[in-house]
C-alpha cells in the first residue's frame, strides 16, 4: 500500500510551481520567477560557457530539494529526502556526469587533478591513492550529508516535542523551557532545509567547474 502513495508524495511539490504563461503572471509565479533568477545568477556566475549548459539541471535540483525539505516540516508529512536511496539516486548520476564530462573534454587536466602541484617525489604514490579515494567518496558524502541532516532535524523535533508534551503535567516551567527550545529548533530546521538544498547544488556545481 505504501508504494503508489510514495510516488504521489514525491511528485507533489511540482504542483506548487506552475509554469509562467504570460509576460506578467500572478503573484505566485512572479515570486518564484524572481527567486529563480536570483539563485541562478548567483550559482552560474562561476561557470564558463560549457558549464552553463547545466543551468536547468542545477536549478531544478535546488528547487526540488528545497521544496521537498520545506514540505517535510509540516506535521505528519513524509519527506522523500530522508531516504538514502533517493539521495544516492540523485547524487551518483550527477557526480558521475561531471566526472565523465571532465574525462571526455579535458582528459589530461582531469587526470592531473589527482596530484596537487609541488608534492615531494616520494609522496606521489600515496597521494594519488588518497586523491582517488577522496574522488570516489564525493557522491557518497553528498547523499549521506543530505540524508543525515534532514533525518537528524526531524528526529530532534519529534523527541523534543514529545518531551514538552510529557513535561506539561510534571512541571510547567520545564515544559516552557523545552517549548522555547522547540521553537528555536523549528526555526533552525527551516534554515537547514534551504541550506541543504543550496549545499547540494553548490557542490555539484563545484565538481562541474573542476571538470569543464
Amino acid at each position: 500500500m505504501g508504494l503508489p502513495i510514495a510516488v504521489l508524495i514525491v511528485m507533489f511539490p511540482s504542483i506548487l510551481f506552475p509554469s509562467p504563461n504570460r509576460l506578467i503572471n500572478n503573484r505566485l509565479i512572479s515570486i518564484q520567477q524572481w527567486l529563480i533568477q536570483l539563485t541562478s545568477k548567483q550559482m552560474l556566475m562561476i561557470h564558463n560557457q560549457k558549464g552553463r549548459t547545466w543551468a536547468l539541471m542545477l536549478m531544478s535540483l535546488i528547487m526540488f530539494i528545497g521544496s521537498t525539505n520545506l514540505l517535510g516540516l509540516l506535521p505528519h508529512s513524509f519527506t522523500p529526502t530522508t531516504q538514502l536511496s533517493m539521495n544516492l539516486g540523485m547524487a551518483i548520476p550527477l557526480w558521475a556526469g561531471t566526472v565523465i564530462t571532465g574525462f571526455r573534454h579535458k582528459t589530461k587536466a582531469s587526470l592531473a587533478h589527482f596530484l596537487p602541484q609541488g608534492t615531494p617525489l616520494p609522496l606521489i604514490p600515496m597521494l594519488v591513492i588518497i586523491e582517488t579515494i577522496s574522488l570516489f567518496i564525493q557522491p557518497m558524502a553528498l547523499a549521506v550529508r543530505l540524508t543525515a541532516n534532514i533525518t537528524a532535524g526531524h528526529l530532534l523535533i519529534h523527541l523534543i516535542g514529545g518531551a514538552t508534551l510529557a513535561l506539561i503535567n510534571i512541571s510547567a516551567t520545564t515544559a516552557l523551557i523545552t517549548f522555547t527550545i522547540l521553537v528555536l529548533l523549528t526555526i533552525l530546521e527551516f534554515a537547514v532545509a534551504l541550506i541543504q538544498a543550496y549545499v547540494f547544488t553548490l557542490l555539484v556545481s563545484l565538481y562541474l567547474h573542476d571538470n569543464t
Partner: protein, 88 residues
C-alpha cells in the same frame, strides 16, 4: 427519494450522499478519464484561487492543509494509539 435525472449525468455537488458510491462507480476510470478529471480539478482550483490579480496566501494554504490532512490519514491506525486518552 428517487431522483428525476439519472445519476450518471449529475455533477458532484448535485449528487446526494446516498448516491455517492453509485456515482463514483460510474465515473470514467480509464487513464484518459483520470487525466481529464485531474486536469479539470487542477485548473478549476488554480484559476479560482491562484491565477487572480491579487491572490494571497489562501491559495497555497488550502493546498498545504489538505496535504497535512492526507498525511495524517495515512498512518491513522498507528497514530490512534498515541492520542492523549485514558482508554485506547
Amino acid at each position: 427519494m428517487a431522483s428525476s435525472v439519472p445519476v450518471k449525468e449529475k455533477k458532484l455537488m448535485e449528487v446526494k450522499l446516498g448516491e455517492l458510491p453509485g456515482w463514483i462507480q460510474m465515473r470514467d476510470f480509464t487513464p484518459k478519464g483520470i487525466a481529464g478529471t485531474s486536469q479539470r480539478v487542477y485548473y478549476r482550483y488554480y484559476n479560482k484561487y491562484i491565477n487572480v490579480k491579487k491572490g494571497g496566501v489562501v491559495g497555497i494554504s488550502m493546498v498545504q492543509a489538505a496535504n497535512v490532512l492526507f498525511n495524517y490519514c495515512r498512518p491513522y491506525k498507528e497514530l490512534k494509539h498515541e492520542r492523549l486518552r485514558k482508554y485506547h
